[in-house]
Symmetry: C2
Subunit: 614 residues, 2 copies
């Protein structure tokens, strides 16, 4: 707490007191916030560039609107750190993403000011419209405000939301935070459309929107009103007729300079005073105010801790499952000309940047559009190509229907590189990759590999691309490989010492299982170990092995319902599944593994208990 007491912010009652400040005082606070953001994220890691871009926007929103009566929905919470600071969470802000601390995203159970959960992209308009319709039903005249980055606008649900919001009879305000980036450089026609608007010099309807808004502006504090009056002409200039959003039914305001607090407040006040749906376009600079982040916003999107002075990351990124995946795919693509790579706005994070450079004609970044990505792969596959879609486990959830309908029914051969499979740690509930196993096993014609080390990842990817058919998922965790044992394989590795107990598992935690067995050996408790690599479909060969044991303890870093252990226990009564029982909070992966019984120590305890009971 003492760390933040030096800030003027800490003396305020937030967000209420923000309205009492002069524009200069508010601008000063923005400086303080930037300092806090940089200093905190340099220690905790997190999303920096996007948050530095929304400091003034957030300040303006909280000065013009009245949270929590007005409900602010942030699309993907990684632009909402300032919102956290301005809604009473300054004192805890240093605990960001730490065990027991603040979430890196918006969470209604963390604060009444977090109107809706945010972690996955493109949902804010839909959620805000639900809130706005509820307000309407309750006779509540407050506003539902969706703040959306332009990256999120490549996701289809954003358009589904716009299509419904534009014609709604509600006070919904959609604020498009335009910074030309989603996570890496933004793709697609819509981004170009927004970009053009930024430079257009034909301003239509200057009179209609502004005048109407200003005419009806109530006294919202003298300073604001004065500013609005004195700059009426300047304000007109920020209005621009956009056929597209107006055709969708919105009043359109923008583009507004997202780092000019006065301009922002005038724009938002105008939006507030319009009856019906309003679309506000705000232009921001990702990383604003921190030169290294302004220069390399992609690198500072989601980062670990770093040295503030130089901007250098504290730990030099070594190889990872993602980078090995990317390099191996390049190697496969050299010999197999049919291989394409597809990503949904995650070129760097999934390790595909080298592929993109080496095979530009066979690389597609489709934007945050996982549904399209899978159907697009289906189109490629129908012509005899072999697309490899690299996607985070948690975002693959967006493609469930497309996997069934566009791939599985016709047995299309598409490879999924399921990155961030298993626990991801600090990003928490919305990002843990714990559902992909249940998801994929509930779809016919799927094969799942879960390699435990780089060597296995390479073997599995090769087999999935060059030998298998249907939907072949190769799933691997965030980060780098740990303790390795046994010969790399694409099937399974089995150490048979005729013990009574068998320990079975797959993926990253296989190392923990092996160490657990070693610990038990010292206690004269013998347990054999079986590491699965091709985890699905379940196999008769494995069932035959299981039959020889009194008990098979099946450890799994996946949600229990739909897990592999559940499937084996349905055919082998001696299988005891140990898996995750629900959503997993944010904390370091090692902590989470331990408290869910998947550390070497906890595994050893569990095995010993079962050993003693059998």
């Amino acid at each position: 707490m003492s760390e933040t007491s030096k800030y003027k912010l800490s003396s305020l009652s937030l967000p209420r007191d923000l309205k009492k400040l002069s524009i200069n005082e508010a601008n000063e606070l923005c400086g303080e916030i930037r300092e806090i953001l940089i200093s905190t994220v340099s220690k905790t890691g997190g999303h920096l560039a996007s948050n530095l871009g929304t400091v003034e926007l957030t300040m303006a929103i909280h000065r013009v609107f009245d949270s929590p009566k007005d409900r602010i929905v942030w699309d993907v919470g990684h632009q909402a750190y300032t919102h956290k600071i301005l809604t009473g969470r300054l004192g805890d802000f240093q605990t960001l993403r730490q065990d027991g601390g603040l979430s890196g995203f918006c969470r209604p159970d963390e604060s009444v000011h977090d109107a809706f959960i945010s972690g996955h992209s493109s949902i804010a308009v839909s959620a805000a419209l639900g809130i706005a319709c509820a307000m309407k039903a309750s006779g509540d005249n407050h506003h539902a405000i969706a703040v959306v980055g332009d990256g999120a606008a490549t996701g289809g649900e954003f358009f589904e939301g716009l299509n419904n919001a534009g014609k709604s009879d509600t006070n919904i305000i959609v604020i498009m935070n335009y910074n030309e980036m989603s996570i890496s450089k933004n793709v697609g026609a819509f981004a170009k459309y927004l970009s053009q608007m930024r430079t257009k010099d034909s301003y239509h309807k200057t009179k209609s929107v502004v005048e109407r808004a200003l005419d009806r502006t109530p006294v919202v504090g003298k300073p604001l009103k004065k500013t609005i009056r004195s700059s009426k002409n300047a304000f007109k200039d920020i209005l621009l007729h956009s056929t597209m959003f107006e055709d969708f039914g919105f009043e359109f305001i923008g583009p507004i300079d997202g780092h000019n607090l006065s301009e922002l407040e005038r724009g938002l006040l105008a939006a507030k005073n319009i009856n019906g749906p309003v679309f506000v376009q705000v232009s921001t600079v990702k990383g604003k105010g921190y030169p290294p982040a302004e220069k390399n916003p992609g690198e500072y999107h989601g980062i670990g801790s770093f040295e503030i002075k130089t901007g250098n990351p504290d730990v030099v990124t070594s190889d990872s499952f993602s980078s090995v995946f990317g390099m191996e795919l390049c190697s496969l693509a050299k010999s197999n000309k049919k291989v394409f790579a597809v990503t949904a706005a995650m070129k760097y994070a999934t390790g595909l940047h080298t592929f993109a450079k080496s095979f530009p004609d066979r690389f597609y970044d489709v934007g945050i559009a996982e549904q399209h990505a899978v159907t697009f792969c289906g189109g490629l596959a129908s012509m005899g190509y072999t697309p490899v879609f690299a996607v985070y486990s948690t975002f693959l959830q967006r493609s469930y229907d497309q996997l069934i309908h566009d791939l599985s029914i016709e047995h299309s051969h598409v490879v999924l590189g399921v990155d961030r499979a298993g626990l991801v740690g600090e990003d928490g509930e919305t990002h843990q990759g714990i559902f992909d196993v249940g998801l994929l096993t509930s779809i016919p014609n799927t094969i799942i590999y879960s390699p435990s080390c780089y060597a296995e990842l390479k073997l599995c990817l090769d087999r999935a691309v060059n030998e298998d058919g249907g939907i072949c998922a190769v799933r691997y965790p965030r980060g780098s490989q740990g303790y390795i044992f046994g010969k790399p394989t694409t099937d399974y590795y089995y150490e048979n010492n005729s013990a009574d107990i068998l320990v079975c598992t797959y993926g990253r935690i296989a190392g923990n299982a092996s160490r657990a067995c070693a610990v038990l050996k010292n206690k004269d408790i013998k347990a054999d170990i079986l590491k699965l690599v091709r985890i699905f479909p379940i196999s008769d060969e494995i069932i035959d092995i299981f039959k020889h044991y009194k008990a098979v303890v099946f450890f799994e870093e996946s949600y229990i319902c739909g897990s592999i252990g559940e499937k084996y226990s349905a055919v082998c009564p001696n299988v005891i599944p140990v898996a995750l029982s629900g959503f997993i909070r944010h904390a370091p992966v090692s902590t989470l593994l331990d408290e869910n019984g998947l550390s070497a120590e906890k595994m050893a305890e569990k095995i010993e208990d079962i050993y003693n009971a059998t």
Copy 2:
């Protein structure tokens, strides 16, 4: 075969010969096709109105393009009957949707002319783009053509596809078949946008697109070329500058009169001769040429057999699970003012039309936008309302991520009315509701009810709305209730006669199970019966009952992976799951139940086998 021999169509080699015909001859064939469509669907049932709307469009496509070298992707196959007739399937057309006959949708395994599967909406642009990129990679200059109805444009994936297609360096042609209807009356801002374009009279760019196209038009047959030349000025009039699609990167042609074959062919020829992505808007009349269908396109969207002369359906629709659901929800909404109803373009089919009339302020039809629907429900729920989303089982698949991220994590209370759960029969693979159980059970904080009769449906809906929390799914089949036994309940009904075998099941097939037990009783084989209604989470009370039996045969009209039987067998070794092993072809439901072991007769056989083995 003899039935079709009277048609001139039957003497042609299709689609090749179409190009040899004069425009008059082609128009005559369109008349024949309409006759065939009406006559066939009047016997087989199927999609009529949408198909009558695309007769000339399909003829024009096959005369201008060269399938299968040019690849035609139909968005939702229920506008593709003419395509089937024109690609060598006239002789089999009378088998449409019949057991062993033609599919009601496009299926690549049915014909090389069906470039991609179609059954779910809004995917065609994505699939066609994959195909177009594959063509580009192969140096193939043919075209990938997506034919999309305007209803499908409310689905977000359509925009994801457009966003990528518009900027692509490919020969993709998107044909928007605009008829102001999706399934019921189209909703949303985008529909309004398209509608405005239809009446706009400002034609821009007449020179650019047409001239360029015409200048480069090769000799594609003298008649066509002559027509184009003589009507150059008329052709100009059908061109209209649309900022939106052109901003997305497409050349835009349209709106074209979709029932004027000459105009269509000129438009498509122009599209063919443009390098790069082209968007063609075609205006059609749903039901064109059959007055009852023109008058009531909604009613003739998907219908059973009917009398051609009057247009009257052969069977008067009686009550159904859907209608009972709709009426019961009205009843609940009267006493509980917090209840909202949401549908994704299925107001009539899900039985919500009465609700819409009675509670217009609490009813939302969001268009074909299942992702938005669920997040929107999350927004409503966050404000203390209780939304009920009525959705077909197969389309719920689109909402998988939203169910997890936008509802489950925060324990939002949203009720799902999962209609068409289980086998749907004639619509086949793409529409069978066999994945919702696996889908819902793989998500935390869910409750699933599967009532077997109307009375139970009402009880379950009441409990889900007024008593439960979290995601509460009430799933029920297409059509009406069958054989009923036992007292209606929301938990389970158990007949304990101390037999050795227990038969457990849920939903519609409970009646079959009861009849199977009756059959066996006559053979002196005793089997107790347990009908589950609240099927998930699995229950300790049920497990305790199971423990008393030598064997529990668990029959289930769901995909085996992720099934309830699988879950119980994971904890009760004596449970033997009998469920569906994969995708299920189209045929009458009774046939499909029988061949998958779920008719009373097959159940009895299975139980007897197990009885004899225990």
